[in-house]
Amino acid sequence: MLSLYDGALNVPTILADWYAEEATSNYGAYIPFVGTVRNEDGIDGLSFDIYEPILESWFASWQKKAQTQGAIIKMAHSRGDVLLHESSYIAAVFSPKRRVALEFIDEFVEDFKASAPIWKYDLKEGKRVYALNRSTAIKGSGLLA
């Protein structure tokens, strides 16, 4: 399940909803990762653009991969502005046993950072500044150069 929200995520509600959705699904492990905007480099917050068609197909391929191990993934992400100490990203894996979920959340979040079509901007002095130096070129980039 992939959910996109305008602005900051309501973390307690999302985590509780996900828990409730799977409470009787016989998963032994629920491992969430919550990403929160930190106060650093004088930013007022972060802002995000998302290209949904490719994000959806990228997520579907990971969901398929999770299913081969009896696991499922849930992910929520913000569009637009998210201020300091608010959260923009939650990913969670449910699996029968903890080891699969612990390994899967790591792999999933790493690939999310490298491949998911989401662009991050720093909010600074009223401006939206693309965070190029923290961004990663998608595998295969440079085809048209």
Binding site: G35, F48, D49, I50, Y51, P53, I54, S57, H77, S88, Y89, V109, F112, K113, A114, S115, A116, P117, I118, W119, K120, Y121, Y130, A131, L132, R134, S135, T136, A137, I138, K139, G140, S141, G142, L143, L144, A145
Partner: protein, 73 residues
């Protein structure tokens, strides 16, 4: 007609081009000064599927997207 969209931080309006392959698109964008900083670090998708080769014919109505470096989370 092929529509070319520039995603995320690339501040450029979409183009409508009469091209038949990605090699022609590469030549057009290489001649465009405002694209210089983006061509080497952007990925390319045709009809929302990332591609890894310039080969293959484009057909009328295809959509091409350029995806600059990403950073979700």
């Amino acid at each position: 007609m092929i529509r070319v969209e520039f995603l995320g931080p690339i501040q450029k309006d979409a183009l409508e081009l009469e091209i038949t392959n990605l090699t022609e698109l590469a030549a057009i964008l290489q001649a465009d000064e405002e694209m210089h900083e983006w061509l080497s670090n952007s990925a390319v998708a045709v009809n929302d599927t990332l591609v890894s080769s310039l080969e293959g014919e484009l057909k009328d109505g295809d959509k091409i997207s350029l995806l600059p470096p990403v950073c979700g989370g």
